[in-house]
């Protein structure tokens, strides 16, 4: 695999009114060699369209209802695609010959992670198109987080479950020829490599992020789930209290072949983490929202997600995600996990709009076709 160099730099960090952020260093991108770009690539078949399906019965006492999630997924996909069945909707994105990755988010497991009930239903949908179970891969970067979510046990037999890396320093699951290179804080390893499974094996990816606040990036939605869940050595982008998640998240999502392979985003909003993300287990910050969102446009969906979490934080009396008041910053992780007015970093929700500027989707709320379906 060769490389095509691309030099990006100087994308301004948005939302930095009250604190002067350090300048964004240049990011050198080495993509896979040019190939025919997929027409399904981000922002996909339906730029700017986000379908939200809510059903209060979908989560009760922290338990997700498989049959109700099934119904929600069906209704949402039909609305997104205009098709009259789940199978036909999935067939807009998936072909029977595809090897399909389901990129889950287990990083908050077990309190808030991609619900196995939803993942099982997505697998069934992919299977209905004619993809054999052996060609469906449920994956994430960290195997031990998948262990905590019991995904191995809860997925159908035949589906492959893959944790790309074992420990923080395990790079064996990454492609040495596809990477982003930058130095944020003088770190010794300045490259972040793309997971080999994404670079070389999967044909299509269905992205299943969760609805979560993130202490460094503002929210962790579609964009961050595939960016920081595909490239290694990414925690170095934030060092208290500063964060370069803007623009790194969007830049990583734009790297081929990742950009072409992510064809559909299904956000698991059964639970909403409105503070303490991405790892909190503190139930007082986890709201059982009971919703799903579907879109091919990760920027549009994350824009809606950001609005939802902002609204919830206002209701709870917590500062805005955009807040950059130095008094909000703490170095005490325990304080952060207990106090919604505290944070470890100056969050960078501007990464969503920055991704929009890279052509990955629509970040202007007025231009987003946000369709809401309230089932019960």
């Amino acid at each position: 695999m060769g490389s095509a160099g691309l030099f990006l730099g100087g994308i301004p960090a948005l939302g930095s009114d009250t604190v002067e952020m350090p300048p964004v260093p240049p990011i050198d991108v080495h993509e896979a060699p040019p190939s025919k770009k997929s027409p399904l690539r981000m922002p996909g078949l339906y730029p700017g369209r986000v379908v939200e399906v809510a059903d209060l019965r979908s989560i009760t006492g922290n338990r997700v209802s498989q049959p109700i999630v099934h119904d929600m997924l069906e209704r949402g996909l039909k609305e997104l695609t205009g098709e009259n069945s789940t199978r036909a909707a999935f067939a807009k994105f998936i072909e029977p010959k595809d090897v399909v990755g389901v990129k889950i988010n287990p990083s908050g497991a077990p309190a808030c992670c991609s619900s196995p009930e939803l993942v099982r239903d997505i697998i069934e949908g992919v299977r209905s198109v004619g993809v054999p179970l052996q060609n469906i891969v449920v994956y994430d970067r960290f195997g031990y987080e998948m262990d905590l979510g019991s995904y191995q046990t809860l997925m159908p037999p035949g589906v492959e479950i893959v944790g790309v890396q074992d420990g923080l320093l395990d790079a064996s699951g990454y492609d040495a020829n596809v990477f982003c290179e930058m130095s944020f804080f003088g770190e010794w390893e300045t490259r972040s490599y793309m997971a080999s499974i994404v670079a070389n094996r999967l044909d299509k990816i269905i992205n299943v992020p969760t609805l979560k606040d993130h202490s460094a990036s503002g929210v962790t939605g579609c964009l961050k789930n595939v960016a920081y869940g595909t490239f290694n050595n990414v925690a170095r982008s934030h060092k208290e209290p500063f964060s370069f998640t803007n623009p790194l998240i969007g830049v990583m999502c734009s790297v081929e072949p990742l950009r072409s392979k992510v064809v559909l985003n299904i956000m698991d909003g059964m639970r909403m983490v409105w503070h303490g993300g991405p790892l909190t287990q503190n139930q007082k910050f986890i709201y059982q929202a009971g919703l799903l969102m579907m879109s091919t446009d990760p920027v549009a969906m994350d824009t809606i997600e950001l609005e939802m979490i902002e609204k919830k934080r206002r209701e709870e009396g917590a500062p805005s995600i955009w807040d950059h008041d130095p008094k909000s910053i703490t170095k005490d992780g325990r304080e952060f996990y207990e106090d919604a007015s505290k944070n470890l970093f100056y969050r960078q929700p501007g990464h969503i709009a920055a991704a929009g500027k890279l052509g990955l989707g629509v970040s202007d709320l007025k231009q987003i076709d946000h369709r809401k379906l309230q089932i019960s």
Binding site: G143, Y144, D147, T153, L154, M155, P157, D166, Q281, Q283
Partner: protein, 354 residues
């Protein structure tokens, strides 16, 4: 079928031996162990690398450890020095079991391996169609294990020759319990199954509300198991009816431990629960970690548990006696041998604490 090895399979001859998950086939791990004081030092520490997401076993002065590096390691228990290592064909998440001096373990490559414990050479291997995370249970010359291929397999422990396999409705990651009443195993489709150990025929199945990756314990004719439906179940081992169930705050992956009339089990909600064996009534519950997925070891008056570190609690009350920051684990279980605690961690370290 009888055991041909000098050490009866699944039972410990030396009182310090732990030859399978939670010491022996009765899963009595910790019985007789005194309440140890907080460890003062590490006698040794050995980094084997990768991630250790299984429990070590101990036999005749050798500690056997599996790792995601794909190696089974044999370490001298007194020094930590590596005696040998054996490379399997994939990552290993399976806790080993001893059959005499032969070490059995499953592997992500779908194989069950048997390795000579003295030399580190392979005795036999047998294949399944899915990864094997469960620990093999060895009883009366047979090795029983579940696989992600949705089957329970029975092979001769001496040769690896297949005796039977039984199809279930989901992946099998929990370790079976083998006893006089048969074989008991939980399944990813939510069923708890009882199988005839001789034939593999399913005797009864009891459905819970979600998948099971917990490993059962049997006390008398009461079978105890956790489920991802948040409940701990007590099931009549003879007919499969539910005697009681107790609701925790999240899924239950940990295996139950029993001491007298108390069942001790952790939940992913971070609490450790002590329940009355006969009724399921809560005796106490304490926050013992952010997430608990590994089984507790219950000693005479103390409980030892690995979560984000090692901690000891008072059996009678749940009061935390001490914490040690070492040994964060997923399915890791401390081995208590005399006054030494052997620990593995998901960071790839092995410790002997005193």
């Amino acid at each position: 079928m009888t055991d041909k090895s000098p050490v009866p399979a699944g039972s410990a001859v030396n009182e310090n031996d732990w030859v399978t998950l939670l010491k022996d086939n009765a899963r009595t791990g910790g019985f007789g162990a005194p309440a140890l004081p907080s460890p003062a030092k590490a006698r040794w520490q050995e980094r084997v690398g990768g991630s250790i997401r299984s429990a070590p076993v101990l036999h005749d002065g050798t500690l056997y450890v599996t790792s995601s590096t794909g190696y089974l390691y044999a370490l001298q228990a007194d020094t930590g020095r590596q005696k040998w290592k054996f490379k399997a064909g994939g990552q290993i998440h399976s806790t080993p079991s001893l059959f005499g001096s032969v070490v059995l373990f499953g592997c992500d490559d779908g194989r069950m391996y048997a390795v000579n414990g003295d030399s580190g050479t392979k005795a036999w291997e047998t294949s399944t169609d899915g990864e094997i995370w469960a620990s093999p249970v060895v009883r009366q010359g047979m090795a029983y294990f579940g696989s992600a291929d949705a089957h329970v397999h029975a092979v001769e422990a001496q040769t690896g020759k297949r005796c039977w396999k039984t199809a279930l409705g989901g992946r099998v990651y929990g370790t079976a319990f083998a006893g006089d009443k048969g074989l008991f195993v939980g399944c990813g489709d939510g069923n708890m199954h009882s199988l005839d150990a001789a034939t593999g025929k399913i005797q009864w199945s009891t459905l819970t509300g979600n998948g099971i990756d917990s490993s059962p314990a049997l006390v008398g004719d009461t079978l105890l198991i956790g489920s991802q439906d948040f409940f701990v179940y007590a099931i009549d081992a003879n007919i499969g009816t539910v005697r009681w169930k107790y609701e925790t705050g999240l899924g239950v992956s940990a295996a139950p431990a029993v001491s007298g009339d108390v069942v001790v089990i952790g939940s992913k909600d971070g609490f450790l629960y002590a329940l009355e064996l006969g009724t399921g009534k809560l005796r106490w519950k304490v926050p013992a970690g952010e997430v608990i997925t590994g089984p507790a070891v219950v000693g005479d008056s103390a409980i030892y548990l690995q979560s984000w570190g090692l901690l000891a609690l008072e059996l009678a009350t749940g009061k935390v006696l001490w914490r040690a920051g070492l040994g964060s684990g997923v399915q890791n279980v401390p081995v208590i041998a005399g006054r030494t605690i052997y620990l593995t961690s998901h960071d790839g370290d092995v410790y002997a604490l005193e």
